[in-house]
Symmetry: D2
Subunit: 127 residues, 4 copies
């Protein structure tokens, strides 16, 4: 019995979260609830469900579908998440969530921090 | 500049979260804030800091160190996290967080669900 | 340009490999080429292609499709990989690779090692 | 017993490999054995051993330490891996492997492919 449960666990696999995102989501302006919604969307995407409903997302959380909807809307307005059209088969068009804007924001933050560090170094060299 | 930022990102690497944990933490009795604290502890562990302070944890979050402390204490009382002594070098003893109790709870939940599914199948076979 | 390339990278995500598997595949009787074939099958599975052809697998490797075929056959004969029928939609039946036997072997190895360690401890206690 | 083995597995965690690297290492000029050596170095780094010996690396593989040494030397000559000095504590200097050159090569390849795709699109638009 135990063995079966365990095998199941491994079969499911894992999602990977960049350590830098864990360390910096706060600086991007995200709070914990928003970050968790993003993780859930990411997990659904990785499992092949590219457009989970607020019901599906809230079903794995301790919030209501209405609250999930609210957070998703806010994430979209603030440019962390977008909805894209995905041409699956001829003529058929389906919508999918994309986390591309989040990666862009993360990249921007990293570049900015690198620039500031270099400026500091330059300034110190001039003293 | 961009290149440097990107390389940095990859060097840092990722943490892996079992998909089943993402899907089931709610059934384990964890809310989103508690789950995030666990993820932060996990990230610190993976980065070689085995006993992050409430200050360090809260420093990556949108909560205060006091709130972080509170949640950690509750997670320990409810048996999700423990503190273990870790004999590093002779005589030297250091404390480390362990998420072992969480994995045990997760395993227990999986086994229970498997059992219930089998019972259902048996009952249906008898009808 | 760089930014686009980078975003692409993140969008693709990562596959997670249990560290214990990296440390112990050798003890399971796998060599590096066999392990790589398993990683490729795992990657295809994670990307939604549950039954990659030897051509597709070899296309990402420095071996020929015939060699890939050979290794896959050997992995199946020795009980590391199986092919399962997967009922996708009514009446439609498709084949999928499963790495379940690998996880079982890994689990077995771990249990055996734990048992041997405990036996050693018991024996030492009796001396 | 089983439970203990399983918990151990989870405690160890996973390493994350970018899917794009799995798909493209061949285009970077790496063969399977070389890629595996890189994965082993990566795993050692993630586990806190920043400068594993050829003996340690080969100990997890089906090759000899001499062969491991050979491959590592070749990877360094061809610019996939470097050794860096790491100032740990005052005056103390230790050597560490860095996979930074690999990430740079990967990034370069991605940018080049993006450029070629855009060129193709431009050329098609002109026909």
């Amino acid at each position: 019995m135990k063995k079966k449960a365990m095998i199941q666990w491994f079969e499911q696999g894992s999602i990977a979260i960049p350590k830098l995102l864990m360390m910096q989501y706060r600086k991007l302006g995200l709070n914990e609830l928003e970050f968790m919604i993003i993780l859930h969307i990411h997990t659904f995407l990785e499992c092949g469900n590219a457009f989970p409903t607020p019901n599906e997302i809230a079903g794995r959380m301790t919030i209501t579908p209405a609250q999930a909807m609210e957070v998703i809307r806010s994430l979209m307005q603030r440019g962390f998440v977008t909805i894209e059209g995905n041409r699956k088969q001829e003529a058929l068009m389906s919508e999918v969530y994309s986390l591309q804007p989040l990666w862009e924001k993360m990249l921007q933050l990293l570049m900015q921090e690198n620039m500031e560090q270099e400026q500091e170094r330059t300034e110190q060299a001039h003293i």
